[in-house]
């Protein structure tokens, strides 16, 4: 439950694998199949998936994954890197014309959310960029589309230019520019009617508006729930209009949103904004990294893995695993481990990144007290080298000395010793079951730093 999507799939695959540590080529093949399924379930276009998986496979067959102790995580890391790369950097910039007004055209299929997004964009331009936008009602086809934009304009107190439903959209757009100049409005957002990319007549109308207005931006508005057809739609709109960017809507839903990847892959146009709700201030910059996690269905676990990758060195991890297996884990190792985990950042932040951590039984009410960690550290550091290597030496006198040295009560020293023994027992059990499910920690077992 805690891990869904790709992480879960990979864990299951790894469990099935025969070898304990390393993976072979057949394993990589199976893992790539899981990556493929995860992406398909997220609605990434199958052609895009095919190319993508090929790339992943090539990298995975290299030493990175094959030699790793944590092949699943390595694969996820590679997938994430490639996904983020594909979706490009963060690009929420909007063009500014040399001579105002700057003209933005909103285009897309029926029901994608163009009108609402036009309102949101106008709101954002005024609020964040201190601009004076004009909304233009050029959808003369859908019943009451003009009323909708006018209501949005009224709610925002932003002017709306319209000429009713009898006028021609091309004329409306042209006149709107004149009006904006007169009124010294510096942005013009043209809300066009939704249309099918294969509707030649209506696509021709957009081409005409484009030719007349020479817009600075043409935003293709796409519903995040779009399936395999996203590539056809995006490719076709882009070929006919050469769009400058994409806005993804309805991302506040529970779709994985693989369309984002597909569109980016076929058009190479940046995804600039994401619609996050029906309210007119719910438009956000698009974050490729977050989208990558979302497509894979795994919260921010990727960031977590990345942090672990940066801070925990593989060699040490291997040694640690050996020790766990042979149960020769000592308080020195314990200190070491604490140092490494601490270097990853504030603990509750780390915990927050684990998807579903708040739903996990053992972790539900965990309060991470950084102060307590300092105390634990103090206790361990007050032990002699011998005591750290062999906690069996411990007796009442030694415990009193340690308590005094660390400035903590004896009861706390006792508690830590007990926890340590429990932990060792757990480790022995766990090292037997590679890739065990995170959610299945025994009740009452505390992580060493809690």
């Amino acid at each position: 439950m805690a891990f869904e999507g790709l992480a879960d799939r990979l864990q299951q695959t790894i469990k099935k694998m025969t070898g304990k540590g390393k993976v072979n080529e057949q394993d990589v093949k199976e893992m790539s199949r899981e990556v493929r399924l995860a992406l398909l379930e997220a609605d990434v276009n199958f052609k895009v998936v095919k190319d993508f998986v090929k790339k992943i496979r090539e990298r995975a067959v290299g030493t990175e994954v094959m030699e790793s102790l944590t092949p699943g995580q390595q694969v996820i890391k590679i997938v994430k890197e490639e996904l983020t790369l594909l979706m490009g950097g963060e690009q929420s910039k909007i063009a500014v014309a040399n001579r105002p007004p700057t003209v933005i055209m909103m285009v897309g299929l029926q029901g994608a959310g163009k009108t609402t997004t036009s309102g949101k964009l106008a709101n954002l331009l005024r609020k964040k960029h201190n601009r004076k936008p004009l909304l233009v009602a050029a959808d003369v086809y859908r019943p009451a589309a003009i009323d909708q934009l006018k209501t949005v304009g009224k709610q925002l107190n932003i002017p709306v230019f319209d000429k009713g439903t009898e006028a021609n959209p091309v004329d409306i757009a042209n006149e709107a520019i004149e009006y904006a100049k007169q009124e010294h409005l510096d942005y013009v957002i043209v809300d066009t009617a939704g249309r099918l990319h294969i509707d030649e007549q209506l696509m021709g109308e957009l081409t005409q508006i484009k030719a007349d207005l020479n817009p600075d931006e043409i935003f293709l508005v796409v519903d995040a729930m779009t399936g395999q057809d996203a590539v056809n739609v995006a490719e076709s709109f882009d070929q006919q209009l050469n769009v400058t960017g994409v806005i993804l809507t309805k991302l506040d839903g529970d779709t994985r949103g693989g369309a984002a990847l597909s569109i980016r892959a076929v058009t190479d146009k940046p995804i600039k904004f994401a619609g996050m709700g029906e309210k007119l201030d719910e438009l956000e910059a698009f974050h490729p990294e977050r989208m990558a996690s979302r497509i894979l269905g795994m919260g921010d676990v990727l960031t977590l893995i990345e942090k672990a990758q940066e801070n925990i060195d593989e060699k040490k991890a291997k040694e640690l695993e050996e020790k766990m297996r042979s149960a020769s884990f000592t308080f020195d190792d314990f200190l070491d481990q604490m140092e490494q985990v601490k270097s990853m950042g504030p603990l509750d932040e780390l915990l927050g990144m684990i998807p579903g951590a708040n739903k996990m039984k053992g972790l539900k009410n965990v309060q991470i007290d950084e102060k307590q960690i300092v105390h634990v550290e103090a206790i361990v550091k007050s032990m002699t080298r011998q005591e750290r290597q062999d906690p069996g030496l411990m007796n009442a006198g030694r415990k009193r000395r340690i308590a005094k040295g660390s400035g903590r009560p004896v009861s706390e020293v006792n508690r830590l010793l007990k926890q340590f023994e429990e932990m060792k027992k757990m480790m022995k059990q766990m090292s037997g079951m590679q890739g065990g499910k995170k959610g299945k920690r025994k009740k009452g077992f505390n992580l060493p730093f809690m």
Partner: protein, 333 residues
Amino acid sequence: MSFFKKLKEKFTGSAETEEVSDKYKAGLSKTRSSFSAKLNDLVARYRKVDEDFFEDLEEVLISADVGVNTVMELVAELELEAKRQNIKDAIDLKELISEKLVEIYTDGDYTAEVPLNLNSAGLSVILFVGVNGVGKTTSIGKLAYQLKQEGKKVLLVAGDTFRAGAIEQLGVWGERIGVEVIKQSEGSDPAAVMYDGIQAARSRGADVLLCDTAGRLQNKVNLMNELSKVKRVIEREIPGAPHDVLLVLDATTGQNALVQAKTFSETTDVTGIVLTKLDGTAKGGIVLAIRKELNIPVKYVGLGEQMTDLEKFDPNAFVYGLFADMVTEQQMD
């Protein structure tokens, strides 16, 4: 008898059926040509059935947005069947593929058309639900037109009190078709509007009341609760109502449509689907998974923005349209 022959037989005979299937052939021409063309192409490319063949077959199905699980199961089944029957040539698999696909939808019953559940003695209430922008209001307009053509007295109720311009939008449809629209002002309680609608339908002696609702994403708990309240009001006022709860799905939607169907069903007991925007290039294959997993039938398909662009979903005709090329081919063999 071979599957294609059976299909062919069904569609020769009555003139009426021919006409219906022609409409489908035209409306779904993009769907048909690309699907059967892809399948034909696949079979031509791979003379021998192997692992890569099945992977490509997966892709043909997935490109139509058929649910990923459904596809995987189907292909696994086909692989087994191919082994069992010792089928080695791709061409021999073609018919089996088509048959299995149809089976998913019809469950073996090729006459499984599911009509509207109208109450013959008195008022029928139909509730429209779905996410934002799928075509609820438009479909209501189209259905109202159809029912009026059949001589029924139809009334509309503007239950989307949230989206800007939604009430006016339904109002325009009412004018176009010449049916009355019951409404309150923007921002009022949708359950109260429904109540008004029912009272008006009763006092005017209407046959059918079509209820519009605001689009909502299925993961918004508050909005889903609001929807079940709307439904409760209808249930309370008229025993047995709503007679149909139609979930409107956009054919362009991918895997999330299955989640939509699940969640809206839990909240409102969906009885049928209106699959819109099939005039585009999307295939809406997810309805196969919805039928398979939730057993919700498609009742109508939307094929455009005009009031005549709504067709009853006839699985026979749909299937015939989908495989028309192959059926004809079979005949020439």
